[in-house]
Symmetry: C2
Subunit: 405 residues, 2 copies
Amino acid sequence: MTKVRNQQSLRAHNRINILNLIREKGKISRVDISNQFSIDKKTVSNIVDSLIRESLVTSAGFKESVAGRRQELLQINGSHTNYIGIDLGATHIIGILTDLNAKTLDRVYYEIRPGLSVELIINQMKTILDKLLHSKNATAPIESVGICVPGFINPKAGISIISENIPGWQDVNLKEIFKREINKPIYLEDSSRTLGLAEKWLGHGRNQKNFIVLDLGYGIGMAIFIDGKLYTGYSYKSGEIGHTIVKVDGEKCVCGNRGCLETVASGKAIAKEALRAIKEKKSEILYGLTHGKAESVTAQDVSIAASMGDKFSINLLKTAGRYVGVALANAVNILNPSSVIIGGGLIKSGNILIDSLVESLKKNTMMGIIDDLQIHISQLDVDGSALGSALLALQHIFDFNIPAG
Amino acid sequence: MTKVRNQQSLRAHNRINILNLIREKGKISRVDISNQFSIDKKTVSNIVDSLIRESLVTSAGFKESVAGRRQELLQINGSHTNYIGIDLGATHIIGILTDLNAKTLDRVYYEIRPGLSVELIINQMKTILDKLLHSKNATAPIESVGICVPGFINPKAGISIISENIPGWQDVNLKEIFKREINKPIYLEDSSRTLGLAEKWLGHGRNQKNFIVLDLGYGIGMAIFIDGKLYTGYSYKSGEIGHTIVKVDGEKCVCGNRGCLETVASGKAIAKEALRAIKEKKSEILYGLTHGKAESVTAQDVSIAASMGDKFSINLLKTAGRYVGVALANAVNILNPSSVIIGGGLIKSGNILIDSLVESLKKNTMMGIIDDLQIHISQLDVDGSALGSALLALQHIFDFNIPAG
């Protein structure tokens, strides 16, 4: 390694550290940056000046220092660039437009009707992209686009390999498809991992190094952070907690195995059990809620029925929560994280499920490990994964080590 | 950061990389080192000369280069320092003496009779340490000592917090106890993790970055390697696969929970089932093997009975293997490692258990993840964890980033 190369890499290293410190602190002065990293003030000023020239950093007013001298505060310039995040789920497509501070500027929501073809789903995604590309709320040019889909992906090729909960969805080259729409970098990730990114940047994952994020929805996934970084596994397939087995010889799963967590506790499994109950006349409340259209019953209906005192629905949610707690305890016993963040669409289904889940998690995690564990319920709304998709794109500004999309 | 400090750290960085390359390659020339790292030959020669002066590296003869010029080969000098590794298990204590190349120079084995007191166990460990300290096979002074115990530990304080399978063992300050015997650095680790270290340095874990090592013995543990490093979790309690739940509402476990893997598949669980079978006259062969002393039956006896065609024993081993496969598949579905290494005392119990385990692992891991997984059976013998304990000590020579013991 030559000395010049090394000094260049030292400067690049300092530049990224300073940029991230400004982001994390919100507002900070040059002096405080210098103190934080033990880098001399001249070097800090050089780097900050160049960040200001690049429009990445901007002034945030002044604060009085102890000595009475005014110190300029610095902040990330949100209007440096804009980003689009698109979340394709089993039941919805959400697109959002953000600035460089991950502030949502615009949003498009589209519900997926059961049985919608792959082609129509892709067309709808394109329409959403187009709407956001022409949003009146944009504050800067679009720099790049992040897309998330549940299931196995090939991030380099930009291919969504399989998404079991979207019928017919296989080997969809989203990068190629969207490159034709917008000639900008396109990044692809699993939607549980983008939910994890949103928690890491904006939620309970801030300042945490080793933690996991449960994505409890129509399917069930998990994001794992190790040493502050998203862990994706050897071949980008980590986090399949929905397909860990909680019932040996249990019911058949879409994945081909038996007794997976998703067969007893996902939004899909809850809806399936509810349908059975309506057909077998086990719940009049559920029957009434679906107005005779039993096939349309969702986990949300079960949650409403439970809040109305429906015993079948209460038991169904309790049982689901209990099994999620077992699978999550198993993951915690293996990974010993500092915290678990419970998120995803199903957590909006009221407290019965969550209370049962947390109780089961506490009961089934080893003593010693549970004592060291923080349990958080996600505060991100349904846009969590879409927001994480925008972060998937904009994070490249803050870390040159992340492989290009 | 000042320029001087940075250049010092660059040199230290290069020095460690060169030392590790020599270790990994076994024998290598200065030119090949220079090519490997793109570091100029003069820098390489400076560092190598200083490593030779420190006696860490020594000549390994010469090879002819393409140009016909002789190139000196370099190797790690095993006789630089010696190390002691002590493995305290539920059924044995093993001590080994190694050189810097992790070559075993001497070995002491001691079987633990059931009911041996904590005090007598510690005394026996001291006796083993003393024997190795005075070994005639030593090739250099002892640099440090590594100790492993199954269960939760506090590595900094050197305290073995709890080892559920050793009755009465709690908050034993092994560092303090052994500091009185030998005034050298003492390192402490969980024994599944030291087995993992042995696989990483000397077994199937070489050249692997993300992999797991199953330690299937009297208890069941796991070592996790992420990005080439041992992953220990937020509070040093990772890898408790033995206490992941495979049977909701199953049998009570020593940990207080129900249905843990250890209740159906450990050496302890197999022995317990065998004892029940003898008492209930379900296996004449097991009864015969234990000569009427039913209480002394071990998993090893079950393995022998199975090889003699005893149906009860065959089923018992098959069932155990099946459940281990489920728990391991769950860990693989979460971590998506490049390989799983199956090790520990029980793998010597013949093929019935292992075949059933591997079949179950393959069946219960998701398609896509299993396709990318290598499955290895450990080739390390019963000394694996003891050898890993010596590596726990000697690894400090090769990595300044590992926290001091």
